[in-house]
C-alpha cells in the first residue's frame, strides 16, 4: 500500500485525489492546498486529512509519495523537498517553464534519486499505448512520419495564459512528448509557425493560439504537430504514424457509438468529448497505476524527468522558431 499526499486541490488535484482514494494499492493520506477551503473540502470528500502547506508533510514519516498538481512554479521546489526526504514523486507537466531550473533540479536529483514520474498522461491512453506497441512490434517497419493533431475545445482564461509559459510550453508540450515517444528518436531540428486566430489580443501577451510544428530527427524521420486553442466540435486528439511497412491511426474517443441518419446528414456522431478530464480519465488512472508499480514493485518509471526536460527544450525551440521564422537546431 502506497501512502500518497496530493499537492493541489484544483481541477487536476481533484482528478489525482479521486484516483488515489479509490486505488486498491494506495491510500490518500492528505490533500494540500494553500487555499484552506479547497483543501478541506477535497479532503473531507475522501475522508482524509488536509493541510495548507506541504513541507512538514513531505518530510514526515506518514507518507511514501506525493502527487504534484499545484501551479507550475511550485513543482521544482516540491520535487526537491520530496527527493531530500526520499519520497517518490508524480509531477504534473511541465516540470517548470525555465529549462535552467529543470536542468539544475535533475542534476540535484542524481544525488538523492527517488522515482520521478512526469505526468504526460497521454502516454497511458490505451489507444496510444496500443499504437506505440504496434510500432515497437515492428508492424509498420521504420517510422517515416508522425502526425499529431491536438486541438482544445476552447481557450483558457487570459489569467491562465499569463502564467502558462505560452502555448508551446503549456499545450504543445504534450505533443512534443508524444512525438518523441512515437518517433523513437530525438528531434534535431524544430520549425514552428504560430498565429492568434482565436483571440487576437493574445498577441499582447506574446502568446499564440494556433500553431503548426515540424520536427526532424537525425535519421530523417519527420513529425508534424498542429494545435489550436479552440475547436467547436470538441477536444480533438488524433495520431497518425506512417512507416515503411504500413500506417497506424488513432481517431478520437467518444462516449457512445451512436450514429444518426436523417434527411440532411448520415453517419453523424456526437461532438467529441469535452476536454482532457473526460478524454483522458482512464489515462490518469493508468498513470497512477504505473507510478504505484514503479514505486512498490521497482518497475522502471515510464516517463522520466529527462522526458520532461526534453519536451521543454522542444517547446523552447519551437517558441524561438515561431518568433525568428527560422528552424532551430538542437
Amino acid at each position: 500500500m502506497l501512502r500518497i499526499a496530493v499537492i493541489g486541490a484544483g481541477r487536476i488535484g481533484k482528478i489525482h485525489s479521486g484516483n488515489v482514494a479509490t486505488h486498491p494499492r494506495a491510500r490518500l493520506v492528505a490533500v494540500v492546498d494553500p487555499l484552506e477551503a479547497g483543501a478541506r473540502a477535497l479532503a473531507q470528500q475522501h475522508g482524509t486529512q488536509w493541510a495548507t502547506q506541504a513541507q512538514d508533510l513531505i518530510a514526515g514519516k506518514d507518507i511514501d509519495a506525493i502527487v504534484i498538481g499545484s501551479p507550475t512554479n511550485t513543482h521544482i521546489d516540491l520535487i526537491e523537498q520530496a527527493a531530500a526526504a526520499g519520497k517518490a514523486v508524480l509531477c504534473e507537466k511541465p516540470l517548470d517553464l525555465d529549462i535552467a531550473k529543470v536542468n539544475r533540479c535533475l542534476a540535484n536529483l542524481k544525488k538523492t534519486p527517488v522515482p520521478l514520474l512526469v505526468g504526460f498522461n497521454r502516454r497511458f491512453d490505451p489507444s496510444a499505448e496500443a499504437l506505440r506497441g504496434a510500432i515497437q512490434e515492428g508492424e509498420i517497419g521504420k517510422v517515416r512520419q508522425v502526425i499529431i493533431s491536438s486541438r482544445d475545445p476552447g481557450p483558457p482564461p487570459l489569467s491562465y495564459v499569463a502564467a502558462s509559459g505560452g502555448i508551446f510550453r503549456d499545450m504543445t508540450i504534450h505533443d512534443f512528448d508524444m512525438g518523441r515517444w512515437l518517433l523513437g528518436e530525438e528531434p534535431v531540428e524544430v520549425f514552428a509557425t504560430a498565429s492568434c486566430l482565436v483571440d487576437p489580443t493574445l498577441a499582447d501577451h506574446n502568446d499564440y493560439d494556433t500553431t503548426m510544428v515540424v520536427m526532424r530527427t537525425a535519421s530523417g524521420s519527420q513529425c508534424h504537430i498542429n494545435n489550436c486553442r479552440q475547436a467547436v466540435y470538441g477536444y480533438d486528439q488524433r495520431l497518425e504514424v506512417f512507416g515503411s511497412e504500413g500506417m497506424l491511426m488513432n481517431d478520437n474517443l467518444r462516449s457512445t457509438t451512436l450514429r444518426r441518419y436523417d434527411a440532411q446528414t448520415t453517419e453523424g456522431r456526437e461532438p467529441l468529448l469535452n476536454f482532457f478530464l473526460e478524454r483522458y480519465a482512464e489515462s490518469y488512472r493508468r498513470e497512477l497505476d504505473a507510478f504505484i508499480d514503479a514505486v512498490l514493485d521497482k518497475k522502471p518509471v515510464p516517463v522520466t524527468g529527462e522526458d520532461g526536460r526534453r519536451a521543454l527544450m522542444l517547446a523552447d525551440a519551437a517558441l524561438e522558431s515561431a518568433r525568428s521564422g527560422k528552424a532551430v537546431k538542437l
Copy 2:
C-alpha cells in the same frame, strides 16, 4: 460487335440505351416503344432508328440481341419472339408476375435455347461481387446468416403499384435473388410480415410498404431481408454475411468521401445516393458487359431464367406468408 435493340424507352430503357450506345463491343441498332415520341427522342439522342413495335425487328436480320426494358406483362412474349428468332435476350426483372407463365416460357426456351440474362443488376455491383468472391474463396467459412437491408428513398406512384405485382414481386425480388446468391443454397422455408407504415391506403391495393422476411435453407443457414418503400436519408443498400470464420459487410456507396464536423455533429456525411439509377449506374454497365461476353464469347450467362423463376417463387411464398401469418415451405 453485338447489334442490340432496346425495347422500352422509359427510365430503365434509357439507361440500357445509353450503355449500349457507348459500349465498345455493341451497337444500338434500334429503340422500340409504343409511344412514338419517346422512342424517337431516345433514338435521335443516340443516332439510331426507332420503332413502335418490336416483332418485325426481332425477327429481322439486323439485330443479334434485345434488351427488354418494357412493362413486365410484355416480357414473356418478347423473350419467346426472340428465342424463336434465335436472338439473345437481356430481360429486366421480374420475368413476369405469374409463375405459371414463367414456367411455360422457360420450358419452351429449352426447345430454342438462346442466351437469356435476367437483369438482377445488383449482382454486378463491384462491392457485391467482391463480397461474394470472398465467400467463394472460403474467407468466412460456412455461411450462417445473411442480412439484406434494402430501403427505397420514396414510394412509387399508386399507378405503378397497381401493375407492380406488389412489394415482394417488385422490390424484394432483388433481395430474394441476392439472398439466394449469397447463401449459395436454395431456401426451403420463407416467412414474411408486412405492414403499410408509409402509406396506409396501400392496403386498399392489397400491397404493403414495410416488410421483414426470414428464409431458411436445408442446411440451416438463415437469411433476413428488411424492406421499406421510404427512407428519408436516401436509397439504403447494405449487405452482411456472417460465417463460421468471419463476417463480410457492404455499406452504402456515396458520391463523395466528405465528412463534416461542427458543434452539433461529427463525422456527418451526405445523404445516400438518391436511387437505383445513381447507386447502380456501374452495375448496369457491368451487367451489359456480362451479357455481351456471354453472347459474343460464349461465356456462361451469370443470371439465368431459372434464377428469375426462383426469385419469383420466393416472392410468391413471401406474399402468401405475409397474408397467412404462416411460414411457407418450398
Copy 3:
C-alpha cells in the same frame, strides 16, 4: 447508504460484488454462496462477511437489499423471501424458466411490494441509452423497423446449456427486452427459425445455436433479431432503429481506436471485446446506480418484474415458433 448482500459468488456475482463494494452510496454487507470457498474468497477480497445460505440474512435487520446472481432456479424463492422481509431486489435475468412460476411470483409481489429491478444490463449501456433517448425525443419519428444483431464469441459448455432453458430464454431474452424497449410497443406476433450450425450435438439437448426472429406489433412496427453462439471476431452487439424521419445505429464498442494500414488491409481494427463482462462493464455499474437510486431516492424502477415476464413470454413464443414452423400470436 444502501446495505446490500450479493447472492451468488460466480462470474456474475463477482461483477455485482465489485460494483457494490466500490459504490459511494452502497455497502457490501455479505456475499452468499452454497460453495463456502467461493463465498469466503469473494467476501475476503472485499472485506465483508460471507454465508452459505441466504434465508436468515435476508430476514435480518442488517441488510436493505439483495442482488441475486445465483442460478436461475433459485431466483423466484429469493425474490419472495426478500419481498416478505421488505427488502429490495436486483435480480439477474431470467426471473425463471417457467412463465407460470413468474406469473405467481409477480402476483404475490403485489401483496408485499418491494422494488424489483430485473437485470437486463444492456438497457444501461450508454450507447443504448443514447439511442433510446433519441427515439423518445422524436428524432426518427415513428419507429418502423428495429434490427438487433447479437452474437456471442463462443458457445457455453453443454452443462450450462442443459440448465439454461435454451438459447431463446437464456441469450435471446436480452434481445427480446431490447426489442420491446426500442419498439416502444408490445409485440403481438413472433416468428423464429433456429439451427445448430456451431455444434450439431446441441440438437440432442433440444437446443439451437443460430437463430433469427421476426416480431410485429399491433401498429405494424417490426423487429428482427439475429443470434449466434459463436462469432470468431468477438462479442457482436449492434442495434439499428429505422423510423419515418431517420435511422439510429449503434456499432460495437472497442477498447482502442487504433486502425491499421498495411499492404493487405486498411482501416483494420482489433477483434471485438471478448464478452459481456468486458462489453457491458459500465452497464453493470450503471444498473446498480439505477437500483440504488430507485431504492434510496424512490425513483421508478427502470426494468420491472413485468419487463422480465414479458421477455420470457416472447422467448417461450419464439421457441414454440421455431419448433412448429408457425408464427405465434400473443
Copy 4:
C-alpha cells in the same frame, strides 16, 4: 463540338485521348507523339489521325484546342505555338521547371490571350470540390489550418526523377495548388524539410522522397503538407480543413465498400486505389468537361496559368527551404 489534338501518347496522353474521344462535345482529331509507333497505336484505337510533330497541326485549321501531355520541357513551346494560332490549351502540370520561362510565357500570353487550363486534376475530384464548396458556403467559418496528406504507392524510376525537377516541383506541386485553393489566400512563407527514406541513392540526384511542408498566409492561416514516394497500402490522398466553425475531411476513395471481420481484424478494408490514374479517373473527365465548357461556353477557366505559376513558386521556395533549413518568405 470542340476539335482537339492530344500531344503525347504516354500514360497521361492515353487518359486524355480516351476522355476526348468519348466526350459528347469533343472530337479527337489527332494524336501527336515523336515516337511514331505510340502515336499510331493510340490514334488507331480511337479511329483518328496521328502525327510525330505538333507544329503544323497546331497552326492548321482543323483543330480548336490542344491537350498537352508531352514531357514538361515541351510545354511552354507548345503553349506559345497554340497561343499564336489562337488555339485553346489544356496543359499538364507543371507548366515548366523554370519559373523564369513560365513568367515570360504568361507575359507573352497577355498579347495573344487564349483559354489556358493547367491540369491540376485534383481540383476536379468530386470530393475535393464538395469540400471546397462547403468552405465557400461558410460552413466552417474562417479557415485556420489545412492538412494535406499525399503519398504515392511507389517511387518512379530514377530516369523519371532526373527530369522531374525533384519531388517539390513534380509531386508536391499538386499539393501546393490544393493548399492555395483551400486556404483561399496566398501563402507568404514556406518551410520544408526533406529526407531520402525510401531510396537513399536519391540524394545523389539532389532529390528527396519524404517531405513535410508548412506554409503560412498573411492572415495567419496555416497549411501542412506531407508527402512520401512510397506507401505500401496504396495511393494515399486525404484532406482536412479546420476552421472557426467546424472541420471538413476527405478520406481516401475505394473501389468497394467491403469490410472484413475475422479472428485477427475487424473493419478491414482493401488497400487503397493503386495510383492517380485510378484514383482521379473521374477528375480527369471532369477537368476535360471544365475545359470544354470554358472554350465553348466562354466560362471562366477554373485553373489558370497564374495558378500554375504560383504552385511552381511555392515548389521552388520549398526546395530552397529544405536545402537551407530556413523558412522562405514570398
